[in-house]
Subunit: 389 residues, 2 copies
């Protein structure tokens, strides 16, 4: 086990009807806010009205910025930064999924910074301060509700880049599983793949002696695997929705990575795919992860055999761990397929034309590698993409 | 799953040699502190010197208050309160196990309060403010390093009472597993029983649909069960010590209880035992918990069968869940025995003379009940104590 620091300040307010508390919770932090959200869906569901009423009741004034979309765009972030500056706003409320939250986080670091906020995403600059962000979550997937991360797409070049800093961990996140009843099956499944991926990026490590975090990862994965089919067959199954929602937060609040080297190669590769093709992040992960596994599993067959045994109940063949390992990967693929996700690029209508370009971008033209479990160079990334075809 | 709020502000600094960072970490919070610790053991181990050097290097001045002891005493707390008041101290550093930390927390709430600090423990008053507390942990057991709780003994009447308030959750806790190498086997085992008990108090619930937290509880228990024998046979096994230390924090940082009604009956009963007989808390729990289980398991045989199967690998007899459930309790008892703990009161030289008195105190003379899984009245507590004889 490696040395680590773990701290997570986010206050989680979880359960039925908790969105009605948003005004009172915001009021502890600010009187005037940017209210940032996505599409028309929160208006259709009535959530918009509930949030507005709660803010009004608490005496919080707000300016609205709608339009946050999947793979959130830098342009909208810049618009948000301008609104906050022009109006002396110090707090951003994001209502939505990872896109609205990531976009809000980008605005939060951009407001007090004199340069271009994109600098933080390219690594040109490191943020020193940020506005506070609060969240009402509608999609369990990204884990952004309690994470220190934000991923933004710069359409000027199809770049999708991430930023991680404690400054942008939300001060509170309101999680009401009822708000996820209206999620279409495909989005529920994509969320599940994202949650699974956040755990697997941590699970596949070469750090020795990490039994507790291994088991915590397995606990969270198994709960997701059991709950997603229940939520798909009965979208208003509160308890299944609740298990998934709480799992999404735990998967990505840093607890599961304590004391171990994390990987994140599959996420990096997927960012290149959704940066170009604008596919749903979770679907992209469902395609990339099994391909990545097939390419790297020989590095640590025991770990993949453990994954197969403890997650998928594959009986361990002690004479042939490789067979056990491969069966685990196969079952992951079957699980993704069974919940309606693609597991090959072609299922997303992506062919081999731009694989080289993606591998190039993912490794900065071989100036750096992707991942830690195995450090993949450009050729390695390309091989994974080919296995995903 | 029930609605819940979860927030844990404590910054965990975990790993080898991390105690050398204590001065810098304190300095973020205060220039002048109360340095509270227990016995001579931190002087013998060299930890005292390391902490003093780190505080000096960081320019933190301190006043020492040694003497914190197992089942920490109200008298010493009052002494600490006086020192802080007389010297304008606003921060308390606890170096030790749960006793030093709980004692420091009591001082922290006592300093800004005009009345008797014991009022907070009897429920006569509710704390509104507190000094900040930081921790260097030497015993993984109580979980006080990231919990909002403190337990104090008032020797004037042999009362042991607890206080829970967010105000006393430590701002930071430094956890170096190397500091636990010198723990005697009995204390290591008592710590393990305390950790297991913190999880089991949450695990045995009647709240339905808590799969994720069930599995997180099981993950943590299994890691403890696997690591303790390794630490006992090789006290300087860093990884075993590390698993136990991180498990002790996770067991009691509130994550494992999210969304479920917790029990806490066994703790309440044990507090009466150690309030009178001054036995080690963990040993008391190893005696009380199996007795409590035998008294209540019929309330929810399925849950006890799940415990037997998932924790102790007992094959579930679907025709006789009661048999499965009882086998799980038996294996818990065997585990405690195997690591050198008592599982009966007589092994701690406690006879039946004061059982009635303990049951009386535990239930306020039947004015209230103990626990939630089953709400035990005085007679019920007495029956558990008899089963523990």
């Amino acid at each position: 086990m490696k040395n680590f620091i773990f701290q997570n300040r986010t206050k989680i307010i979880f359960g039925k009807q908790t969105e009605t508390e948003v005004g009172a919770e915001v009021k502890r932090n600010a009187d005037k806010i940017l209210f940032h959200y996505g599409s028309a869906s929160i208006k259709k569901s009535g959530l918009y009205d509930t949030v507005v009423k709660s803010l009004n009741d608490a005496g919080v004034s707000f300016i609205e910025l709608p339009g946050a979309q999947p793979n959130p765009r830098l342009n909208l972030v810049k618009e948000g930064i301008k609104i906050c500056r022009d109006n002396g706003i110090k707090f951003i409320l994001a209502v939505g999924g990872g896109s609205a939250i990531d976009s809000a986080k980008a605005i939060a670091v951009g407001v007090p910074y004199n340069g271009d906020v994109w600098d933080f995403y390219t690594g040109k600059a490191v943020p020193k301060e940020a506005l506070d962000v609060g969240v009402v979550l509608t999609i369990p997937a990204a884990g952004s509700e309690a994470s220190p991360s934000s991923v933004i797409t710069n359409t000027d070049g199809d770049f999708k880049k991430g930023l991680t800093t404690e400054l942008i961990r939300p001060v509170f996140s309101i999680l009401n599983p009822e708000l996820t009843y209206s999620l279409p099956p495909y989005q529920t499944a994509c969320g599940a793949a994202d949650i699974m991926a956040h755990i697997m990026e941590r699970y596949f490590t070469n750090t020795d002696h990490v039994e507790l975090t291994d088991r915590l990862c397995e606990a969270t994965m198994k709960s997701v695997i059991n709950s997603v089919p229940a939520a798909l067959s009965d979208p208003e199954n509160y308890n299944a929705r609740a298990e998934i929602m709480w799992a999404s937060t735990i998967a990505h609040n840093d607890l599961l990575g304590t004391g171990r080297v994390e990987d994140w190669c599959s996420h990096q590769i997927e960012h290149e795919i959704s940066g170009i093709y604008d596919v749903t992040h979770g679907a992209g992960l469902a395609v990339v992860f099994p391909a990545w596994m097939k390419y790297v599993y020989k590095t640590n067959i025991s770990r993949f055999a453990q994954f197969a045994s403890r997650i998928w109940n594959v009986e361990i063949d002690t004479y042939d761990l490789q067979k056990t390992a491969l069966e685990g990967i196969k079952r992951l693929e079957s699980f993704f397929s069974s919940i309606g996700l693609p597991v090959r690029l072609k299922e997303m209508n992506i062919d081999d034309k731009r694989l080289e370009e993606m591998a190039e971008k993912c490794t900065g033209g071989d100036r750096y590698t992707a991942g830690n479990f195995v450090k993949l160079d450009k050729r390695g990334v390309l091989e994974v993409l080919k296995l995903a075809l």
